[in-house]
Symmetry: C2
């Protein structure tokens, strides 16, 4: 009996009740939808730990990233962007596409962004208008110290923009307390719904910048989104992906029931169990610092084994879809998933499949050693 | 027993099998999804009657409109845009947002765009780079003569961009034969799926323009979309709304089964039945020319009755969501729906509810006269 497992860091598994929330649809200008949208927008504030508005867009997370940059900056504005993975690179690319001057701080894929580098870059570029950082770099599994960066940016006039697409809801992120002015996220990660919705929390400082920003934008215009969402009842400027908003409503209900703190603790526990299994199997991690790396666990393929052999075997043999490497890590790493709708038995299942796969690919594996190590953490 | 009816020109009713296609999700980088995406992109070519690529975006239709403008024009380019309703105005707004010089041809809401006006405007503006027209102006119910416009634009170097969001699949639209270079559409109209996907068919002439276009774009970049969709197997540049693509696959299967010609004939028949009912009830149409107005039927509220009273009564009493007016027509008209997943009994239901509503609002109505008139058309 082959079952299907989406064990990737995005999209992530969708709870059945969330999937079912998409089946029938209400009209987006109906009173019922207004109530639903109001509840969803309120729920997003809870997840974001913010008192500010969270804007909702129908797009992938990348769309809201573009919206943040286009709505709050002008061509020629200087921004410092940290690029230590595929999604950090995307911050650079979008900024360049809109004519910003980008000071790109490239660092090793697998390393954390260094706050000391930010201090240096700010000293060398006192005219910096924005600092752009990825919280959880999905391509490497690294989770950066957003709080440390926020405290540095807060002393400047620059806006602090964070790509929290895969991190929001999985690891702690205090949007307001950490001084995040533009906090972007997406639907298909810890929020447990299918892809198609993107979000951005916007601070007062960012709204002030938006007043004079000159990059063109229409569909992702933050001003237009705020105008519609501020109505009583709230609306979206353009027809939203109604079935996905309905799904999000159910998912946020689940998140509220579990509670944010418990959700973070669960993600940490499942990540530590996965890390323990990887260590027991004698494999090497890509992420150098794993003290916050609770979103996805990136693992080097064993010497002489293309990572694609592992991911393909797991998919073909077990129907288990795990992610390989992206960009320059393609073929070199595979990524174990534990963000979103995961529990301890999903981790056991994933590690068990990995053990069987490595064995079949001729690797020396003591069957059960990875699962055992994971269970030891889970029993704590 | 109050049932829910989405009788609006967007979103439109979703067939149960389409709704159910969203429940479980496959990974967008899986071989199964590649096969599905290939089939969907091929199906879109069928619906568009084009041999060119149709790009797919996760957004509302407005997003693809922005993509077309930003990907194929440069700031300062002159375009002629026809605005005789809310969506024609949007063509003007997006063009202005991206710094294009817009020759806006405004005409009465309810009238058709006049090809003679295009000839005059082209003569006065020989440096025109684009002509922008709404096929089916959802806010008024007017369907413009796209073919006539296309034959005029074909004699120039300008690109012909058509907003076919509510018209595609409902009324004939020969993308290639009519010389449409950029043909935008959306998911929640005749394509019968929930909102969240947008499309654009792109001609070789448009791709050539895209090579030198200088408006900034990233998420809606046509070049990026083409690059991903041209791969074997095809991909999307960013994570797509997977569950909506799955829904679209089912809907396109239904469209292929009915056949495009039969689909157009059904829309015309249901529209004519609705028009006959409206006439029998002594109500006045907004659209002056109804010979192609088969997407939505816009009706002036009877003297002394706010249109909102009609739409509210139908919603509250019968759970039937019909659209009121937009923009300057708010409170003045209501719109009867027959685009997408509609059959003869939906028309009967809608007209019957309208009769009961008018009666209850104190209007002189011979009950059954509207339904009878509709049935006479449907019996032909």
């Amino acid at each position: 009996m082959k079952k299907d497992y989406i064990f990737t860091p995005g999209p992530t598994p969708v709870p059945p009740q969330v999937g079912l929330a998409q089946v029938s649809m209400i009209h987006h200008r109906s009173p019922d939808f207004s109530v639903l949208l109001e509840r969803v927008l309120d729920g997003l504030k809870y997840v974001y730990q913010t008192r500010n508005d969270v804007l909702l867009f129908t797009s992938s997370g990348t769309g809201a990233m573009e919206g943040a940059i286009a709505s709050c900056f002008s061509p020629g504005d200087k921004v410092i962007a940290f690029a230590g993975g595929k999604f950090g690179e995307r911050l650079v690319e979008i900024s360049q596409a809109f004519g910003l001057k980008v000071v790109a701080i490239e660092f090793e894929w697998g390393a954390c962004a260094d706050p000391a580098d930010l201090k240096k870059a700010l000293a060398a570029n006192p005219d910096t208008r924005g600092v752009l950082l990825t919280q959880s770099e999905t391509s490497t599994g690294v989770v950066n110290d957003v709080e440390a960066f926020g405290s540095i940016v807060a002393k400047t006039n620059a806006l602090f923009m964070v790509d929290a697409i895969s991190g929001l809801g999985a690891v702690d992120l205090k949007t307001d307390d950490w001084g995040i002015d533009l906090c972007v996220s997406g639907s298909q990660k810890a929020l447990m719904i299918p892809p198609g919705l993107a979000f951005c929390a916007v601070s007062e400082k960012a709204w002030k910048a938006a007043e004079t920003a000159k990059c063109p934008s229409y569909y992702f215009s933050f001003k237009a989104a705020r105008k519609s969402q501020s109505k009583t009842p709230p609306e979206t400027p353009y027809t939203p992906a109604i079935t996905l908003v309905q799904a999000l409503d159910v998912a946020i209900g689940m998140i509220r029931e579990e509670g944010l703190e418990a959700m973070f603790a669960r993600h940490e526990r499942l990540a530590r169990a996965t890390q323990a299994a990887v260590e027991a199997l004698g494999l090497r991690f890509l992420a150098k610092d794993r003290s916050r790396a609770f979103v996805t666990t990136s693992v080097w393929a064993p010497e002489g084994v293309p990572a694609g052999d592992i991911t393909k075997f797991m998919r073909n043999e077990f129907g288990m879809f795990i992610a390989g490497g992206q960009g320059k890590l393609k073929g070199k790493i595979f990524r174990l998933a534990h963000v979103g709708y995961f529990n301890e038995f999903d981790i056991v299942t994933q590690v068990a499949a990995l053990e069987l796969t490595l064995k079949r690919l001729g690797q020396p594996v003591e069957l059960g050693s990875g699962v055992g190590a994971a269970l030891k953490v889970l029993a704590e």
